[in-house]
């Protein structure tokens, strides 16, 4: 009903505007030939009005920009990054934004100012100024210099992010994406992820680990990504079905999850969840969010539905590449904690070897027919189909 009303109002508004224009048109000068082509060509009066409107529009651009920054300027991720490389990303972003805001301010001013000052009238004559190589050179070389600086800084930062020292001590964690959720696999005490391929998916082995690989036994599965603060983690990223993207905005990290390939992203988390929750900007943000949530919750409760809980800050992993119907709800919690807290959480996780063995034991009584074969037979069968060297090569760490 509301939408119908809105449409009707907008349509009536449109008709009203058209009628007003027609009336305005008719009230214009009556001594010119109403049918003449000239009546649809801009007159000095039109030039004047639109000239002033150009200035008005410049004011609009400036005011809207200032309003937007004032109202929503707290939202963008420009400070409080949670990773080591995040500092570089934020610095570069600040520099780039400042440069483009300055250019925007100046060029929009010149454009709209010239449009106003040079609004035409009968007695005016334009200046025949067709080219000037010196000017062209100036406004070619200045962008070249500015952009070179941005390029160099950008490439330096990019190299630091993408290339990590092989000798560095890192922790490997697999981030596994599927329609529509995330799984995490820790590499275990040997810090080596077992080989994997979707062809090994079975039962509790939801990410397709090759259990015959000796490195796989101590791998641990989790539904939340916990990371110890200050330690470099290399996320090995896989997908089960379609393209997804592992997006960790607080860490300034993103990498696509590609089925058939293992992609990776290395980073050092620098702020624990607990610490981040104390930061002023986060506290403000959480309060703003909770205000909206409480309002919406009240509305829901009034309708007889369940209310919404309060929001506490948590790092989050989102899917950021269109992947199907529930693309908008593919999330996982990310926790950064101290080494001790991490160890405590980690040690409580069962190893994959244990889980698979338990599952096998639980299934044993039911498993009498040759239709359901034992895991070892399964693996041999699959090896006929899958070239292990090719699979291993794909998962080379």
């Amino acid at each position: 009903m509301t939408s119908l009303l809105i449409i009707v109002i907008v349509a009536l508004l449109g008709i009203a505007v058209w009628q007003l224009t027609k009336i305005f048109d008719l009230t214009q000068s009556t001594n010119t030939n109403r049918d003449a082509c000239e009546s649809e060509i801009a007159t000095d009066k039109d030039n004047n009005i639109n000239g002033y409107l150009m200035y008005g529009f410049l004011a609009f651009i400036y005011i809207f920009t200032i309003y937007s920054v004032a109202k929503w300027g707290y939202m963008p991720f420009l400070t409080d990054s949670a990773s080591e490389h995040g500092k570089d990303v934020d610095n570069l972003m600040w520099i780039s934004l400042i440069i483009i805001f300055i250019v925007q301010f100046i060029t929009q001013f010149l454009l709209h100012h010239f449009a106003f000052v040079n609004r035409g009238h009968k007695d005016k004559k334009a200046v025949f100024f067709a080219d000037n190589d010196k000017l062209e050179f100036i406004w070619t070389i200045i962008p070249v210099i500015v952009l070179s600086v941005l390029i160099l800084y950008g490439l330096y930062a990019w190299n630091n992010i993408m290339n990590y020292d092989e000798d560095e001590e890192v922790m490997y964690v697999e981030v596994y994406a599927k329609q529509f959720g995330w799984d995490f696999r820790y590499a275990g005490d040997d810090n080596t992820l077992g080989h994997s391929n979707v062809r090994f998916i079975e039962g509790i082995n939801t990410v397709g680990v090759d259990m015959s690989d000796k490195n796989a036994q101590d791998d641990r599965m989790a539904k939340e990504l916990h990371l110890p603060v200050g330690k470099k983690v290399v996320l090995k990223i896989r997908s089960q079905d379609v393209l997804h993207s592992a997006y960790f905005p607080h860490f300034r990290a993103q990498m696509n999850c590609v089925p058939g390939m293992v992609t990776q992203f290395a980073m050092v988390p620098t702020v624990t969840t607990a610490e981040m929750r104390e930061r002023e900007s986060i506290v403000d943000r959480v309060n703003k969010i909770n205000k909206t949530r409480m309002e919406r919750s009240a509305e829901l409760v009034a309708k007889g539905e369940e209310g919404l809980g309060a929001y506490t800050f948590d790092y989050v992993l989102l899917c950021n590449k269109i992947c199907g119907r529930s693309h908008y709800n593919m999330q996982a919690k990310v926790v950064v904690e101290t080494e001790e807290e991490f160890k405590k959480w980690y040690n409580a996780l069962p190893t994959l070897g244990q889980q698979v063995a338990e599952e096998k034991a639980a299934n044993q009584p039911v498993e009498e027919t040759p239709v359901i074969s034992t895991p070892t037979e399964n693996v041999e069968e699959l090896e006929v189909v899958v070239d292990p060297t090719a699979v291993a090569a794909q998962i080379a760490n």
């Binding site: 939408s3 449409i7 505007v17 058209w18 048109d25 049918d35 082509c37 009546s39 649809e40 801009a42 039109d46 009005i49 639109n50 150009m54 529009f57 651009i61 937007s68 939202m75 963008p76 991720f77 570089d88 570069l92 934004l97 925007q104 929009q108 010149l110 454009l111 709209h112 035409g120 334009a126 200046v127 025949f128 100024f129 067709a130 070619t140 952009l147 950008g154 990019w158 992010i161 089960q240 079905d241 379609v242 393209l243 997006y247 300034r252 993103q254 696509n256 058939g260 703003k288 969010i289 909206t292 929001y311 989050v316 989102l318 950021n320 199907g324 119907r325 529930s326 908008y328 709800n329």
Partner: protein
């Protein structure tokens, strides 16, 4: 060269004699006259634009008021796609997909490039018609069939293609991944294959015509910048569209013939699919090898139109004609080596990321030069504020705003956190959805008298421009903020993540601006269609412009000029030239004793 052109045009004369009897079919339907074909492209483009905008309003309503029931969803989408008036989550993705496809290809490529290349190239270079009228006619009708097939995909039970306009596999290849990847996707691929075919036919025609059919005196450096832009656009299209066709063909093979070009190791719907060895990243490379030049195919004609309209309405030569040509060529060349900036986080080798950052920031330079040249063109001009002029000034304004954020997106390091967020959506809508669209509007207002022999209502034009300008900024400027705040694109609803709860108001504001802005496009539609039949009759050269198209009679004739084709003696920008009483000197006026051609005086 020009003598050859002269002979060829004589050859065409026999087909355009006054005894040529026309039926309704040969005049309006299967016309081989470039002017009629241009209008066919324009009207089809406008109708597709209405569909595209309609879709955007539907999904913007869903975003602003998530999972609410709307009568209009029931009416337009039906009970399968919107049960109980609530939009289904995969149908949201279908709308987003078809919106993008229609707008980029059917409206901004065919509707902009197709219309103005057809209309202006022969007229502005002094040719009787395109090199091949028959192939030209074919290109329109194949485009029309492509439109029909794309629209038919909306009525398929499993839904239209839903993998985004970028249709990355495996989502677009595997029907189990999303329903729209079944029949809907097949129809999408057929439609696009036809679209690409017609685009190539058009490109060939435009290139051959510009090279071969220029009239006497029309050297390459006396061509209006519009023709330069359309000519170079055609070359880019010729080079890049076939690659999309190859990507589409390989995708058809993967979908229907069991190949694994783009697919490998997929477990879906409880089973492992047979595909092995392929890579989705390969598809991304092939797609973006077209995809990036495509956006320059969209913007260059708009730039060419803006050069023409700014200079004619400022009564001043376009500033830096040679630099403008060089910039067009630089943009064209560079556009073929920047595609990887769409793939920084695709998993491709990070070294490529460095290469593409470098080339992408390079392409900012010729674009900047053009923007500065436009600003200098209006400096010390005598600006006639016709609606076309307003849209051209708006073009420069929004091209700068949108282009500047490209500098952030082109930097691989910065792209990490904004890739696939609303920041990208803001950027490309400002440059394509606003800037290029303004170029199209400027062209329509400016050449309407040439197309239909009548004038559009200028007051309606003013209202159209000013309301659109405000609403366009209102829709897309706030998106920068929510994008930088991490809000991903193509999300059916933003309510699944509490961290986005404070963005609800922003999204509602954007949707309201979109609804109002779209409603005011009705002002343009009324003006356009009404003026075709009842607009004030136009004179031959209402804008007092110098270019050749204004020397043809108001009533269209095949072969454009009643007698011989005029000869050209000067460049097209002699506006307010010292020594002449009138503030414009048409290209056909011979140079005086001792007068220099071009910008010197």
């Amino acid at each position: 060269m020009s003598a050859l052109g002269h002979e060829l045009t004589h050859d065409h004369d026999h087909g355009h004699d006054h005894h040529h009897k026309e039926t309704f079919i040969t005049k309006y339907i299967f016309s081989m006259d470039h002017k009629m074909i241009a209008k066919q492209f324009l009207i089809t483009g406008i109708i597709m634009g209405i569909v595209g905008i309609g879709m955007s309003l539907l999904f913007r309503m869903q975003i602003a008021w998530p999972e609410e029931s709307f009568k209009v969803f029931s009416w337009l989408l039906g009970d399968d796609f919107a049960p109980g008036g609530v939009m289904r989550n995969d149908i949201y993705l279908a709308l987003v997909t078809i919106h993008g496809t229609i707008m980029v290809f059917f409206v901004l490529t065919a509707g902009l490039s197709g219309t103005f290349s057809n209309l202006l190239i022969p007229l502005q270079i002094g040719a009787r018609d395109m090199a091949s009228g028959f192939m030209n006619m074919l290109s329109f009708w194949i485009f029309f069939i492509a439109c029909v097939i794309m629209m038919s995909s909306l009525f398929v039970e499993s839904g239209p293609a839903s993998a985004g306009w970028t249709i990355y596999p495996p989502l677009s290849a595997v029907e189990e991944a999303i329903p729209g990847s079944g029949t809907g996707m097949t129809l999408w691929l057929i439609s696009m294959a036809l679209f690409i075919a017609q685009s190539l036919m058009g490109s060939l025609n435009y290139i051959v015509t510009v090279i071969n059919l220029r009239t006497k005196g029309m050297t390459m450096t006396r061509m209006p910048l519009t023709v330069w832009a359309l000519f170079v656009t055609a070359i880019i299209g010729l080079v890049s569209f076939p690659v999309l066709l190859s990507a589409a063909l390989l995708l058809i093979f993967d979908r229907s013939f069991g190949t694994s070009f783009f697919l490998s190791d997929i477990y879906i719907a409880g089973e492992v699919l047979h595909y092995q060895g392929g890579s989705p990243v390969l598809f991304e490379h092939l797609f973006w090898f077209l995809g990036h030049p495509e956006v320059y195919i969209v913007i260059l004609p708009a730039m060419g139109i803006t050069s023409e309209v700014l200079s004619a309405n400022a009564r001043k030569p376009i500033f830096g004609y040679r630099a403008m040509i060089t910039s067009i060529l630089a943009i064209a060349f560079l556009s073929t080596i920047v595609w990887g900036h769409h793939m920084f986080v695709s998993g491709m080798n990070p070294f490529l990321g460095s290469v593409f950052t470098f080339t992408t920031l390079l392409i900012a330079i010729p674009s900047a030069v053009k923007a500065f040249n436009y600003i200098t063109t209006i400096w010390k001009g005598n600006l006639q504020m016709n609606p076309s002029m307003l849209f051209s000034i708006g073009f420069v304004s929004t091209f700068i705003t949108g282009g500047l954020t490209g500098i952030i997106l082109g930097d691989s390091t910065l792209d990490i956190n904004v890739h696939d967020t609303y920041f990208v959506v803001a950027h490309f809508h400002l440059v394509m959805g606003i800037s290029a669209l303004y170029g199209m509007f400027a062209g329509i207002y400016h050449w309407f008298p040439k197309m239909y022999g009548r004038m559009m209502n200028k007051n309606l034009g003013y209202i159209h421009f000013w309301v659109t300008a405000v609403c366009a900024y209102g829709v897309f400027f706030p998106m920068h903020f929510i994008g930088l705040a991490g809000l991903p694109r193509r999300y059916y609803t933003n309510s699944a993540f509490p961290m986005f709860d404070d963005m609800v108001d922003v999204n509602i504001l954007i949707t309201v601006f979109a609804l109002v802005g779209s409603a005011f496009q009705l002002v343009f539609l009324w003006n356009f269609f009404y003026s075709i039949f009842y607009g004030k009759k136009a004179t031959q050269n209402p804008w007092k412009a110098t270019t050749l198209e204004w020397t043809t009679p108001v009533e269209h004739i095949h072969g454009n000029w009643p007698g011989a084709i005029p000869e050209v003696h000067r460049w097209p920008y002699d506006y307010s030239k010292p020594g002449y009483e009138e503030d414009y000197v048409p290209q056909t006026v011979p140079l005086r004793e001792g007068e220099k051609d071009g910008g010197g005086h």
